[in-house]
């Protein structure tokens, strides 16, 4: 077993600097690397490019880095519900590259899997395809999209072990497994770091080879963005 365990978030983020490109897992506030984000806020590094499906809300998730103006460019599919984001974007302070969600997912997967680029139908005929190569296969049009390149990927899992194996819970899985191994260094924070051998080898979502550092996260807030319930009848 190759040991990936580090003691805390500080050690896990060694080497992050200004001007880097980061991938951050999560959909909305679900499955986001809360500990890594807090540490990035504390470190005050800036001029960052962040690849993440969403941009958090004003006072949680990536919203915290936005408030601090640490982010220079966001690559996301959906950025609603964030006033500070909208302000920075419309004022031109923040560069935003909107990418169809399936394309965003596959650009991560391509980076993980060593594919340089791929053809997808998403965005053909729209401004997303502007300046990009398009091509017909079997009578349908596709857009060529390159794989992402990033320095660090920050992901959040439910359970993990020292070998770097990860298991996610529910829809908190989302982009997290795709970002593992898609950046030079992948840092995983887990709710529960279990002893080696506890996880069933047949039920690993992300094999440890895709993870360089893993640590036990602290105080996960796990906020709910839209609390919807029904009454008991």
């Amino acid at each position: 077993m190759i040991n990936k365990k580090v003691d805390n978030v500080k050690e896990a983020l060694l080497g992050v600097t200004n001007n880097m490109t980061f991938m951050l897992g999560g959909f909305g506030l679900c499955g986001i690397p809360e500990n890594a984000i807090s540490e990035l806020v504390r470190l005050r590094i800036e001029n960052l490019t962040c690849i993440s499906n969403n941009a958090g809300i004003d006072n949680f998730g990536l919203g915290l880095l936005l408030q601090n103006k640490q982010i220079n460019k966001m690559i996301s599919s959906y950025v609603g519900e964030n006033d500070e984001f909208e302000r920075q974007m419309l004022s031109g302070e923040l560069e935003v590259e909107l990418t169809p969600q399936g394309t965003l997912a596959e650009k991560c997967r391509a980076a993980q899997a060593g594919f340089p680029a791929f053809y997808t139908p998403a965005g053909y005929g729209t401004e997303v395809a502007k300046g990009k190569e398009t091509r017909e296969f079997d009578g349908k049009m596709y857009v060529l999209e390159p794989a992402f390149k990033a320095d660090f990927a920050f992901v959040k899992a439910w359970k993990g072990d020292a070998a770097g194996n990860l298991i996610f819970k529910g829809t908190a899985r989302n982009f997290n497994p795709l970002m593992c191994g898609a950046a030079t260094i992948t840092v995983a924070e887990v709710e529960e770091l279990v002893p080696l051998g506890v996880l069933d080898p047949n039920q690993i979502h992300t094999p440890g080879i895709f993870v360089q550092r893993i640590f036990q996260g602290e105080k996960f807030g796990k906020r709910i963005e839209q609390r919807t319930v029904r009454k008991r009848s």
């Binding site: 997912a105 053909y124 997303v128 529910g170 919807t228 319930v229």
Partner: protein, 217 residues
């Protein structure tokens, strides 16, 4: 004239036995409530769940189990969770049979615009561009006109497009329309709405063939 619930009810009739269905945010989400319970249907949400159930009972919300609208949900027996790449494999690979989503504009050739108003609103396309680029069966749920009373069924969309030539059907507060041959075909009128009202509210080419029945919802 239908309200949002009415639109959802009418669209629910388009959901057939054996369908996997992706519901967009807003009116489409309501459709799930009105699907006949004697047919087999599964709802997919692109953030990574198949087999969505109703909202949880109070106190049973789980922050790790949400839909694409970021609402807390439950799952049905036989459900599964998966990553976003697998989710869009389902969509891009045409395994999802029906996509229902909202729109700001639809044109007579089936273009749709629903993600951006230049200089005003830029929330992003989320999964909509993937959905409309891949699905064979795309129903748009929307009001027939915008807040200024202008038609949303146009010759050409004025807003940035989400997808081209992809919408197959539109269900509005006034009518059900099919898009083919670069024209809107009027199929049904909302209760109490005349063909003339629909004609006046439709900027794109409207084809009216024979007697147009009133919706049965």
């Amino acid at each position: 004239m239908l309200d949002k619930i009415g639109i959802a009810k009418r669209i629910a009739k388009e959901v057939k036995n054996g369908y996997y269905v992706n519901l967009g945010i807003g009116i489409p989400t309501l459709v799930a409530n009105f699907v006949r319970d004697d047919i087999e249907v599964e709802f997919q949400s692109e953030n990574g769940v198949l087999g969505m159930g109703p909202f949880p009972f109070e106190g049973e919300e789980d922050a790790d189990i949400i839909n694409a609208g970021k609402q807390t949900i439950t799952t049905m027996p036989g459900a599964s969770f998966f990553d976003s790449a697998t989710s869009f494999s389902m969509i891009r690979g045409k395994h999802v049979h029906l996509t229902i989503l909202g729109a700001m504009e639809v044109s007579e050739n089936g273009d749709i615009a629903n993600w951006k108003i230049p200089g005003k609103m830029v929330k992003g396309m989320g999964g909509a561009m993937d959905l409309v680029a891949s699905a064979d069966n795309i129903i748009v749920a929307m009001m027939h006109t915008n807040k200024r009373g202008e038609s949303k069924l146009l010759r050409r969309c004025s807003l940035p497009l989400t997808g081209v030539g992809c919408v197959t059907k539109v269900v509005t507060n006034l009518a059900v329309l099919e898009i083919k041959n670069n024209e809107f075909y009027l199929l049904e009128r909302a209760p109490g709405v005349s063909v003339e009202v629909i004609q006046n509210a439709t900027e794109g080419t409207l084809i009216i063939e024979g007697e147009i029945p009133e919706m049965d919802i």
